[in-house]
């Protein structure tokens, strides 16, 4: 059975169609990534699944419970680590965890033992009785995750778990999430706008763009689907059409054109094809600013399926 099933969710805020028919399924026990730039609809999807937001249409279930009709059962089954933490900064780590446990319906020795266990698990045992205001960014994020786990949920939603963390803390958090997924035998849905993060953490992922899932699969499948390496040719001037013809003649199939002067092509074996490509462009009299070669990455996958460059789109959002 799917731990999370999402069917054609739609949600409109004023003039913005935040969700435009999102569908995907997450199997039990897997770490599933929703990847996309800011504003793509990832958070709205998660907020719908955790019952915070009501969709205009479509349906979804979490742990077998309908998110519209069985809200209480859904809330009991899930743990939610929101993008903006929602921790009480004036309380200590332990107090926050105890309160979370109480409203989740836990009490007494069971709750206290669980809180101790989690503090240990996320490495906050020493800071447990300090007020959260004095925590570092990484410590807060680990507390957020512990808060989502207090009631031993079966499905955990992590909304942008590493946004705002420095690179070092980010890598530590990845290890943390992988470890927790194992230790608590969880199904995890995480959203991220870091390609690297999705690549590292997700067993499978869906790329979300403009309120829709554009492609779904394992990172390896998605990359393999691109067939070959990417050769990126940046032209001095805008002779794009001619350059594309030349590239095609030497077996480098043009895939995308960026900003009117950069051509991304696919070739079977980049290392072997590169000298031929350069000399063909040279003899055709096309001025080249730079040529680069890369193994297929999620960046390329994103570019291929959305026709947009991930990094620049994310920055613009």
């Amino acid at each position: 059975m799917d731990a999370i099933a999402v069917q054609d969710l739609r949600k409109r805020y004023g003039d913005v169609q935040a969700l435009d028919g999102v569908s995907f399924a997450v199997r039990e026990g897997e770490v599933f990534g929703l990847l996309g730039p800011n504003g793509a609809g990832k958070s709205t999807t998660v907020r719908t699944l955790v019952t915070l937001t009501t969709p205009d249409s479509g349906s979804a279930s979490v742990a077998g419970h309908d998110v519209l009709r069985e809200r209480l059962a859904v809330r009991r089954a899930l743990g939610y680590v929101p993008q903006d933490s929602g921790v009480d900064q004036l309380g200590t780590g332990r107090e926050n965890l105890l309160l979370q446990g109480h409203v989740e319906g836990m009490s007494g020795r069971d709750l206290r033992a669980r809180v101790d266990e989690l503090l240990e698990l996320v490495g906050l045992a020493a800071a447990a009785d300090r007020v959260v205001r004095g925590y570092s960014g990484g410590m807060r994020r680990r507390l957020d995750i512990a808060l989502g786990l207090v009631h031993r949920p079966r499905v955990l939603f992590l909304d942008e778990p590493t946004t705002g963390l420095d690179p070092e803390a980010r890598v530590a958090m990845w290890a943390e999430v992988s470890r927790l997924a194992q230790a608590e035998s969880l199904t995890i849905l995480l959203t991220t706008h870091y390609l690297e993060e999705a690549d590292q953490l997700a067993d499978r992922l869906a790329i979300v763009s403009q309120g829709k899932v554009v492609v779904e699969g394992t990172p390896a499948e998605l990359k393999a689907g691109l067939k070959g390496d990417a050769v990126t040719v940046e032209l001095e001037n805008g002779a794009v059409d001619e350059a594309q013809r030349v590239l095609a003649s030497v077996g480098a199939t043009p895939d995308q054109v960026l900003e009117g002067r950069t051509i991304v092509s696919r070739v079977e074996n980049g290392g072997r094809a590169l000298p031929g490509i350069i000399s063909a462009l040279e003899s055709a009299g096309i001025a080249v600013a730079s040529v680069s070669l890369s193994r297929p990455s999620l960046d390329d996958v994103y570019l291929h399926f959305t026709g947009r460059d991930f990094t620049s789109e994310d920055r613009a959002a």
Partner: protein, 257 residues
């Protein structure tokens, strides 16, 4: 059951935060002390006008200041809801099985609890200033109850406004807009016979005045327990009504998510 226990744990959280920054409790008491000590002295001869039921203006004033303080505290209580909304603390609760009603109710209970603690402190200071509660311990209970009920009546309103506007600036404007008019349209500072006729009529419908009258009734001789009971009952009903309104606006907030 879940609503009660959730409310309890959420109140404990807020009370604990208040205890961690007790400076607030003191700062909030500054204003009533100014009224009691300076205003009470400045106008101490006003009782010569008659109709006050006592020659000691501070005895007349003290129970009213307790209620006034509870009222002013209530008008600001929505600020704490806005803080919790802004810091996504409310959203965190909403993704759990936590009772929705408890999220609103805990704010009102915390506000009323603060008013009760401040009431005790103001009464103790008044005692030191020579104010005697004519009906003794029962009178103290009534005054504290009046403070709690006036506070929760207006805390409900403040919560509703906080949930509707979700902006601190609007909260401040509303608090200032209703604060002084309701104070002046009551017998807080002046005996009823000394008020202009139309003001006496308007004051009858002013919940702040209901609280002031109940509290003053037990301080001065000639206590009418029937009146005390009636005012407290009216305030209790109003509290229930405004709490219901606040809960209703909370649903509107949820729909906006």
């Amino acid at each position: 059951m879940k609503t009660l226990s959730d409310t309890w744990f959420m109140v404990v959280r807020q009370a604990r935060n208040l205890r961690r920054e007790p400076i607030w409790l003191v700062l909030l008491l500054g204003q009533p002390m100014v009224w009691l000590l300076l205003y009470g002295q400045l106008f101490k001869n006003v009782t010569k006008l008659g109709g006050f039921g006592t020659a000691s203006y501070i005895t007349f004033l003290a129970p009213a200041i307790v209620v006034m303080n509870a009222f002013f505290g209530a008008t600001w209580s929505g600020m704490s809801m806005i803080y919790d909304l802004d810091h996504k603390i409310v959203e965190r609760f909403l993704a759990t099985p936590a009772s929705r009603f408890a999220i609103v109710l805990s704010q009102i209970v915390r506000s009323a609890l603060t008013a009760a603690i401040q009431a005790v402190i103001i009464l103790l200071v008044s005692l030191a200033l020579g104010v005697r509660v004519h009906t003794g311990a029962a009178g103290w209970v009534v005054i504290i109850l009046a403070a709690i009920l006036v506070n929760s009546s207006f805390a409900g309103v403040s919560q509703a406004i906080a949930l509707l506007t979700r902006r601190e600036a609007t909260m401040i404007a509303v608090a200032n807009f209703i604060g002084l008019p309701l104070l002046f349209l009551s017998t807080t500072m002046i005996a009823r016979p000394q008020m202009p006729g139309w003001m006496q009529e308007v004051a009858k419908f002013n919940p702040v005045d209901w609280g002031v009258r109940a509290a003053r009734e037990v301080v001065l001789p000639g206590t009418s327990w029937g009146h005390v009971g009636m005012y407290l009952l009216l305030l209790f009903l109003l509290s229930a009504l405004t709490a219901a309104w606040a809960t209703y606006t909370f649903r509107a907030y949820q729909r906006s998510l």
